[in-house]
Amino acid sequence: MSRISIKIVGAQGQGVNSVGEMCAKGLKRAGYCVFGEREYMSVIMNGHSSYQLEISNEKVRSAQEKSDVLVTFNHHGIKNNLRDLIEGGVLLHQTPQWKFGEEDQKFIDANSIKVIYLPTEEILKKLNAKPVLGNVLITSVVWSLIGRSSDELKEMVRERFGHKKDLLELNFKCIDEGTQLIEIEKLVLPEPDDCWKSQLLITGSQAMGLGAIHAGCRALFGYPMTPASPLLTFLADIQGESKMLVKQAEDEITAVQMMVGAMHAGTRAMTATSGGGYDLMTETISLCGISETPAVIVLAQRPGPGTGLPTWTAQGDLLMAVSAGHGEFPRVVMSVSDAEDSFSLMMDAFNYAEEFQIPVTVLTEKQIAESLFTIDALQVRGDRLQVRRGRLVDGDGLKLLRASDRYDPDAPDGVSARWLPGSDAPTYCAQSYEHNADGSFDESGENATAQMEKRMKKMKGLKRVLPEPELWKVNSEKLIVNSDFSGEIDVLVVSWGSNKNVILDSINDESVAYLHYTYLWPLKTEKLVELAAKAKKTVLVEGNAQGQLGMLIKQECGLEFDERVLKFDGRVSVPLQLIS
């Protein structure tokens, strides 16, 4: 794949994101697939942060280890990130009179790094512009560096400040200054491809928020916690358009309880949190198990334990999602991997929650929640996704109900009828104690066995209907999802979540196949066993220390992997050489 990478670094609050997002949008509109990755520290100010853009005319889903261009706001960036440049890379910095240390100078010479100093302060002074305009200035330098016309940039700026004429003019001046400034060889971008222009540039959190709205979710009860907060903020910001009820509750227990109350009343509602908040929700998740109340909980992972590394990424909460919450009850644990399925899987999550009357945990990761993806807008608008509410009874059906239908232990697949408070029908008690068919107390052993069996039967039903893991393989030179599981495999890579992006970006021939798990509990392993049997080598890739999916797989089917690539440093990129 031909791609280039631009990394923007600086202190938090200096405008790193703003420059990154502006460049990304411009490039996508120019016909490129863009992937944007944010890294920052868990402090409000002064922490080092970066925004890396990967740009290609083919699908790109991850960031490379090295960049072609490094744009830095301060001298920390020069020191910390110089070595992130490839040979022949460009360093664009803004630190007046910067003197490189000996080692750095050696590196620059040895790697033919081009160093460009941008006298931002001077220029802004000359234009009598506020510091914030530095962002436009820098963007325009980058813009000209990659050989794009300044008109494109001006168009975007106009979109944003159209109504403020003065500001617009000043912005244009900055752009002109920036474009003229640099007198060096331009970077050669691959040929643009129009197909990207109509696509969307969106983060995982935004896509997930839209996916929830699309799925008929009408309320979000949350509590801020990185990296779940962007979802909360996004849905709050668009509540005027979505008419969704967005409530920042006083804590996570409240958030999950309000969600359950709202679900019980009959709407679709959800909550979102990270690991620590999820812990607090687990008692309520267990409640949903016995009261058979649908629930959707987004668990946005970051490195733990404890407060951990709030702004970094991880896949360390899988086993928790599968086993937390006391007692035994059916549940679904599923994971998104990018913006595309962050959108589409929300419909699945709500559908399974309602069809099986269970709690559904949707895993995401900081890497997905805060990264910028280029995704197909049509996918989003397609009508593959439909609202399914399972055995929810209303209308004429209500007339036939008896109270004891609510928890009828003989219901097929363990899924009994559900109807909403307010319905003109016999009433029942949604019960957190063990109960009989109409929700009354029943402490007999026979009843306990019957009701537990009723509920656990749902796991069998789920295993039947949940989709198989996806097999990605190069077929006729295109990397696609194969529905046909036959054919030769040299290396079978198995993983889940955001790893999919790095792995797919690294597959370039037919020898490597990737099996991607979206549904993690209950876990289907038939296909895996089949594929593993014929693969020469099986490799498990996970962003945690224990190889948690591997543990579940072993538990389920006994399979052990030939190799495990485990990474748990808060960073995403899996060294590709380890996979192939």
Partner: protein, 290 residues
């Protein structure tokens, strides 16, 4: 309320459940049970028209003893559970029952923030000043120095004055009743359900098994009824229980908007969240991402 509605003609038997009642003899919960049934009947609300949520505790066992849509949830969490339901479907009145252990110890935060948030729901506190179901431990509402289970030498924590506490949160409806005065309690509950906003109803409940300090007789002797008055007067009357205990609807602010009514995003919308579950076209929202 004098117009017969479609549900007119409701009687106690519509609300009676044939499950066994398991409270001790003389338990104040019997009185509260009667009062809630009466209140609902007098409000002409049929069992299928209400949602009654229960915390876990002796009081929570009421879930087994009456008909109606019920949710018996977790210990300490009933207020938030009920609030979620009330927001999702304001057409179904939501009543939450909780104990003093549940709502002033385990889950006091939910109470604090529900009062502030003024969700439209009714909260009825079974204030028996102890943890009945777990056999008589102290709650925050147990007087200092009482010898209780796990505190055989007497509690050392200060008594929490529930009224001062709730009034500090700028409530829109505060009432106090006792399990021994069913008629008054019925009226209080009716007023609470009719109130638009969070109705806090503190019911002094006899628990002959574990509460020997505020018995049925003691409460009957000490309580007197007051009329609703302004905030400061009501607060003063409510807080000071040294001589006598003020009961009735102590304070009500009918002008305050509920949580839902204040939400910009929901203004001018007639449907309820429960009516809006369908696949929603998000095309219009995609513009900013292209």
């Amino acid at each position: 309320m004098n117009q017969p509605k479609e549900n007119a003609g409701l009687s106690m038997k519509d609300y009676n459940h044939n499950n066994l009642c398991t409270w001790c003899d003389g338990c104040g919960n019997y009185g509260i049970l009667t009062a809630i049934k009466r209140a609902l009947i007098e409000l002409e609300l049929a069992p299928h028209q209400v949602l009654i949520c229960f915390d876990v505790g002796c009081h929570g066992n009421m879930s087994d003893t009456l008909v109606g849509y019920r949710f018996h949830g977790l210990h300490g969490r009933v207020i938030s559970l009920a609030a979620g339901a009330a927001l999702a479907n304001p057409d179904v009145p939501v009543i939450a029952f909780g104990g003093d252990g549940a709502c002033f110890s385990e889950g006091v935060g939910h109470l604090v923030h529900a009062v502030r948030s003024n969700y439209n729901m009714t909260f009825i506190l079974h204030n028996n000043a102890n943890y009945g179901l777990t056999t008589g431990q102290a709650s925050a509402l147990t007087p200092h120095g009482e010898k209780m289970n796990t505190a055989p030498h007497g509690t050392v924590e200060e008594l929490l004055n529930s009224m001062d506490f709730v009034f500090s949160l700028n409530p829109s409806f505060v009432a106090r009743g006792t399990s021994g005065n069913i008629k008054q309690l019925t009226d209080i509950i009716k007023a609470g359900i009719n109130h638009q906003g969070f109705s806090y109803i503190d019911v002094l409940q006899a628990c002959p098994t574990y509460n020997k300090f505020a018995t049925h007789e003691y409460l009957l002797g000490k309580c007197y009824e007051v009329e609703t008055s302004d905030f400061e007067t009501a607060r003063k009357a409510a807080v000071d229980t040294s001589e006598k205990i003020a009961t009735g609807v102590l304070y009500q602010d009918k002008t305050r908007s509920t949580f839902l009514d204040q939400l910009e995003a929901r203004k001018g919308i007639d449907t309820r969240l429960v009516d809006e579950v369908r696949k929603v076209d998000v095309s219009a929202l995609l513009a900013k991402f292209s």
